[in-house]
Amino acid sequence: MKSIAAIFFVFALALSSAGAKDLKLLNVSYDPTRELYQEFNTAFAKHWQAKTGDKVTVQQSHGGSGKQARSVIDGLEADVVTLALAYDVDAIAEKGRLLPKDWQARLPHNSAPYTSTIVFLVRKGNPKGIKDWNDLIKPGVGIIPANPKTSGAARWTYLAAWGYALKQNNGDEAKAKEFVAKFYKNVPVFDTGARGATTTFIQRGIGDVLVNWENEAYAALREAGPDKFEIITPSVSILAEPTVALVDRVTKRKGTADVAKGYLDYLYSDEGQDIAGKNFYRPRSEKALAKYAGQFVKLSLFTIDEVFGGWAKANKTHFADGGIFDQIQRK
């Protein structure tokens, strides 16, 4: 029997000694964060190697936030998720049981290291004269948002439009519903994610106005050029708080919990916040916010808690099967 034990010992030793210092992380994120995390991953890898000596390679996966959450629940082995909605991370905690339900309390600012909002991108010269949300529901205006069933940006867009309508109509829910119904009547094509919507608007030349993340609009403007498009900031919009979380069960199994936690912590560092600002996300730190204050137009922002009572309630009322979004789509 000693011989058997020896065989297993040698085998186990061979397996355990392979690649101990070469770490790999998978960051499952939403659609428009490609450029942000490309830059951040490089910075973090340098930081982690200097701190621990370990080499880290971070792989990225991008798609509509809701679709990405479902992939993680179905088995995509994400070490960290950086999604558009806290609701999507909640789903991973509740349906996938891959992290604790109180995940949002584990990092500062409710695990949202940067914020954004929803703005408009129009073609140069603003031929349809769009200035605010109420211009979007006029007949003949083609609006390009993503699909709220699959995209985080699209849900923020829907809620921003709803919040604006409520404010304009003294809290009248029926009028808000009517407003949002008109809004989506002007949508010629739905993309599943924010980046797809940008492609539809810019590369395919469809529609008069792209309604999307502020960071996505600025990135598109930088890419396509200010001679072709311009950004319109509405009078009021929603404070979007994309959230990040460690996927406990995956990192425990892969032995990557320390580096994954370090990765998320680094988003709050000076360098992490600076990279967020550089990529048109609104940083949390005062220092970075001050540095990039010039690129963000000031506007009135409301939170989801203030107007909708939080994500769970907003989802149940508006986006669940049979919710208001389904009702207005059926009309």
Binding site: S3, I4, L15, P188, I206
Partner: protein, 477 residues
């Protein structure tokens, strides 16, 4: 829905061909221009919707499991191929007809030789499993049940019940044997056993190896799924195919190696058979037992060291195939229960050489079976593949076994068999086989005087030779 390109081109051409001055001239013209722009937008929207639909279809295909239904069975595979489930099966319907057997009743007949559903698959890409029950014998039993971890092609770990890695013909897949039954020396090699095995192949398949620790099984026995002693058997095999990667070399089909086992056994289930009747024992091609440890009094047990050694090799070139092996099985035995009590080390040996030739020109190989160039079809004129096969084999029992450990009256000390046959592969799944086998026996001085059991089949051979015609209808997928 795909928008015809000429429609798009026509509309855009229409837009572009309109002179700017005309466009701006009048309100009518403005309306016309607006209409064209609207039409252009509609076309773009339709095209984008189609593009998104195509993207969705492509994405869906990446996550949709595939179903395979073909000559290699039925299966389901996840889109990323990390998970798979396959259902295969084997059915062998045989007949054995004995000639000049001096009127022995009960040994001619039809039989279901093997009836095995094979359930196999893969989980998490690197873990394979197989489960094979058999319903062909008098009782249903589990033949194979194992889990295999493919860390690398060079290093794999197999746990469960499977064939012990010693004999060349023993390791041939059951549906790919050239004759209905394996040759005499295979009886000296271990069959399926329970254990743990490391195995793999390296240098582009030039070297393959397997080595493991097993419960230990007697010659010509399958493990009974439990072990009745504390001792274990180590079995291993190394095999070389030095020209395997060289596609054009005439030596590509050359392979040679060495298999062996070493262990210690201490009961009578570690022997080929201790009585007559239906137990395996050393049997002829016709599956009639010609030797058993069956003294007239007392019980024979394995009593210590047991080792086997099997040099082996093959050569395949085009339609021609040749393989052979030599096997030594050396085992210590004791007899108890009646005087004289004894202990002895016996060495039984056997060898075979088997040749085959595919008359229809297909390529022969040790693994993979025969793939007919023109599968049998009356409507399309194919006649499948036809193969001639011939074999000579011997098994020699250590004469020191007689008379204390085996009854010389009813156990032969050796057997020699020559066989020839014709195999017809209608397609990859259906094979018809027919063959003739002639076996003669040796007896120690004064032996072979017993008679065959007349009422049990297979019986125990007496002095006369065995002549048997086999047929087989085989379905394998």
């Amino acid at each position: 829905m795909k928008i015809p390109q000429f429609v798009t081109v026509s509309v855009l051409a229409g837009v572009l061909l309109l002179p700017a001055s005309v466009r701006a001239q009048s309100a009518t013209d403005q309306k016309l221009l607006q209409k064209i722009e609207e039409l252009e937008q509609k076309l773009k929207v339709l095209e984008r919707k189609q593009e998104l639909k195509d993207e969705e279809t492509t994405a869906k295909a990446k996550t949709t499991p595939s179903i395979v239904l073909g000559e290699k069975g039925f299966g389901f595979t996840s889109a990323d191929e990390a998970f798979a489930l396959r259902l295969r099966g084997v059915l062998q319907l045989d007949s054995r007809t004995f000639f000049r057997d001096h009127g022995i009743a009960g040994n001619d007949g039809f039989l279901v030789r093997r009836a095995r559903p094979i359930i196999e698959g893969t989980v998490y890409r690197d873990f394979d499993f197989q489960f094979v029950p058999d319903f062909g014998g008098p009782t249903a039993q589990i033949f194979d049940a194992f889990l295999n971890y493919r860390a690398f092609p060079e290093l794999q770990l197999k746990v469960g019940k499977f064939k012990s890695p010693v004999g060349l013909e023993q390791l041939t897949v059951d549906v790919e044997t050239l004759f209905n039954e394996r040759a005499l020396p295979t009886a000296l090699t271990p069959n399926r056993d329970l254990g743990v095995q490391l195995h793999g192949e390296a240098f582009s398949g030039r070297v393959s190896y397997a080595g493991g620790v097993f419960n230990g099984s007697g010659d010509a026995r399958n493990s009974t799924n439990l072990d009745t002693d504390d001792t274990k058997e180590f079995a291993g095999r190394i095999f070389f195919q030095p020209f395997k990667p060289e596609a054009d070399s005439f030596l590509r089909g050359l392979g040679f190696g060495l298999g062996g086992s070493y262990g210690s056994e201490h009961n009578n289930t570690s022997l080929p058979a201790t009585t007559g009747g239906t137990l395996g024992g050393y049997a002829t091609d016709g599956q009639q037992q010609f030797f058993a440890y069956n003294p007239t009094t007392g019980v024979v047990n394995a009593n210590g060291e047991h080792w086997r050694l099997s040099p082996q090799g093959y050569y395949y070139y085009g339609p021609f195939g040749l393989f052979g092996e030599y096997v030594i099985s050396n085992q210590r035995l004791s007899r108890t229960g009646a005087a004289p009590l004894s202990s002895v080390r016996l060495e039984n040996t056997g060898w075979e050489i088997t040749g085959s030739y595919l008359l229809t020109g297909e390529t022969a190989a040790y693994k993979g079976g025969v793939n007919p160039t023109h599968p049998f079809s009356l409507s399309e004129g194919g006649w499948g593949a036809w193969q001639l096969v011939a074999r000579y084999a011997e098994l020699n029992v250590d004469e020191a076994a007689f008379p204390v450990f085996a009854n010389p009256a009813t156990s032969a000390s050796g057997a020699q068999a020559w066989s020839f046959g014709l195999n017809w592969y209608l397609n990859r799944n259906i094979t018809l086989k027919t063959s003739f086998s002639h076996t003669t026996f040796d007896f120690v001085s004064g032996g072979g005087t017993g008679t065959r059991a007349a009422t049990t089949a297979p019986g125990i051979v007496a002095r006369q030779s065995e002549n048997v015609v086999f047929t087989r209808v085989q379905l394998a997928f």
